[in-house]
């Protein structure tokens, strides 16, 4: 991230070419854990966007004052504070979802994407590009979460956002939901399929 990049590419690159999940392979843990249903996947994505954008901005504003030898501690304090605030807000305004996500909101603190963006981008850039970078990477993460959640809920439970989409006639004809889709291994396989598609489309991402 040393070279000067335009705001536009800072914002849009993480969607596909520089996606934190399928290209940088960061934050896989939460992708496995919260994508059995679409709704928690979306809420988790929004939470990560919020925490990432604000922590990027705060660290970027503070970047010239932070003593180098405690910079990781400062980043952690800021991230942890924001995560607790998000968790409290969810508990107050989206109680059911916060119960479903349980510890995973707290575990945003350990999501490698956050520390990665703070250390690699916010420590060396001005607040506005840092904000775009945070939102961009958050959206990149959310896109993958939503794709995985979409397939897992559709094939595993026959519903989307809790609404039945696979018609009853299918079940009468002998169709059954794939119970394996609900379990974490299938999340890994779906992520692997996305990485496969992604690399077939972008030849420059393939390792020689």
């Amino acid at each position: 991230m040393a070279e000067k990049t335009s705001n536009k590419s800072v914002f849009f690159n993480p969607f596909s070419k520089d996606n934190p999940v399928v290209v940088q392979i960061l934050g896989i843990c939460s992708v496995l854990a919260v994508t059995a249903k679409l709704e928690p996947a979306i809420v988790m994505g929004l939470s990560v966007i919020a925490v990432l954008a604000f922590s990027n901005v705060i660290i970027s504003i503070l970047r010239n004052t932070i003593p180098t030898n405690i910079r990781i501690i400062v980043q952690l304090v800021v991230v942890a504070g924001l995560v607790v605030i998000v968790s409290q807000l969810l508990e107050a305004y989206a109680y059911d979802v916060s119960k479903q996500l349980s510890v995973f909101i707290g575990l945003i603190i350990t999501n490698c994407i956050l520390m990665g963006r703070l250390e690699a981008f916010a420590m060396g850039n001005r607040p506005w590009p840092s904000f775009l970078d945070g939102v961009g990477n958050g959206i990149g993460y959310t896109i993958i979460l939503v794709i995985v959640g979409f397939f897992r809920e559709l094939l595993g439970s026959g519903t989307l956002l809790g609404f039945q989409v696979v018609p009853q006639a299918f079940y009468d004809a002998g169709y059954v939901n794939n119970g394996l889709m609900i379990l974490p291994p299938m999340a890994l396989i779906v992520v692997a399929c996305i990485i496969w598609v992604q690399r077939s489309l972008n030849k420059d991402l393939q390792e020689k």
Binding site: T65, I66, P67, T68, N69, I70, I73, V74, V77, V78, A80, G81, V84, I85, Q88, L89, E91, A92, Y93, Y95, D96, K99, S102, V103
Partner: protein, 234 residues
């Protein structure tokens, strides 16, 4: 000022922690009433589930106030004592000696109004953390009408199965008094029988410690209600 010096570092981190701490405290205070309301509504939902009444988040409070028309606290001698049943902290009470406990009872009508069920809370320990639930008992003080169990962090697919109806529905129709003796329902390995002749349900394969926790929780938390239940029966 030297930004790499110790003094600067210490002052910097102290100020940062104070600011973040103040922000967290403010958020917590501002949101507490809403969080408490959510937690109360969730507790009402669980109490109603044990009496086999399903609710949606929108109607849970209204349904609770309509069906649960009596709440009171008893002691281990079955006498009513002062106290708000809904506010009793079951987690703390379950650790006291039986004679000193405040024992909440929620009386819930069935939706058709024909029968009254006595719902009591239970609280205990699973494998990783606390487990809790509610047991609804018929007006005869012995037959279990329904049960609801929940947990904080039991293993998904194993211990966590206690919150599924497949487990809790087994309690329906079990009796607490057998041949005049008070014997809370036992939880045993599938295919086995308990040592005594008490009623029992099958535990969860692979969730042995959680299943034993449910059994111990029922024994510990239902025992002090013995006099209350036997008074109901008479």
């Amino acid at each position: 000022m030297n930004k790499q010096g110790n003094t600067y570092t210490i002052i910097y981190i102290v100020i940062l922690v104070l600011v973040v701490g103040a922000a967290l405290a403010a958020t917590s205070i501002a949101l507490r009433p809403r969080q408490q309301a959510n937690a109360d509504a969730d507790k009402m939902r669980q109490i109603l589930l044990s009496a086999r009444v399903s609710t949606t988040p929108d109607d849970v409070i209204a349904t609770f106030h309509e069906l649960v028309d009596e709440q009171f606290v008893v002691n281990s001698r079955g006498e009513r004592v002062e106290g708000d049943a809904f506010a009793v902290n079951v987690a703390e009470q379950s650790k006291l000696p039986e004679a000193e406990r405040m024992l909440p009872v929620f009386v819930c009508k069935t939706p058709d109004g024909a029968a009254r069920k006595y719902i009591v809370p239970v609280y205990g320990a699973g494998l990783w953390g606390p487990i809790w639930g509610y047991v609804a008992v018929d007006a005869d003080g012995s037959t279990v009408y329904g049960a609801y169990f929940a947990h904080q962090g039991e293993t998904p697919g194993l211990g966590a199965e206690i919150e599924k109806p497949a487990f809790s529905d087994q309690f329906e129709g079990k009796v607490l008094f057998k041949n005049g003796r008070f014997l809370p329902v036992a939880v045993v390995k599938a295919g086995q029988k308990p040592m005594g002749d008490e009623d029992y349900v099958d535990g969860i394969s692979g969730g042995t410690i959680t299943s034993k926790g449910v059994g111990a929780m029922l024994a510990n938390c239902l025992a002090p209600y013995e006099t209350f239940f036997s008074n109901l029966k008479d």
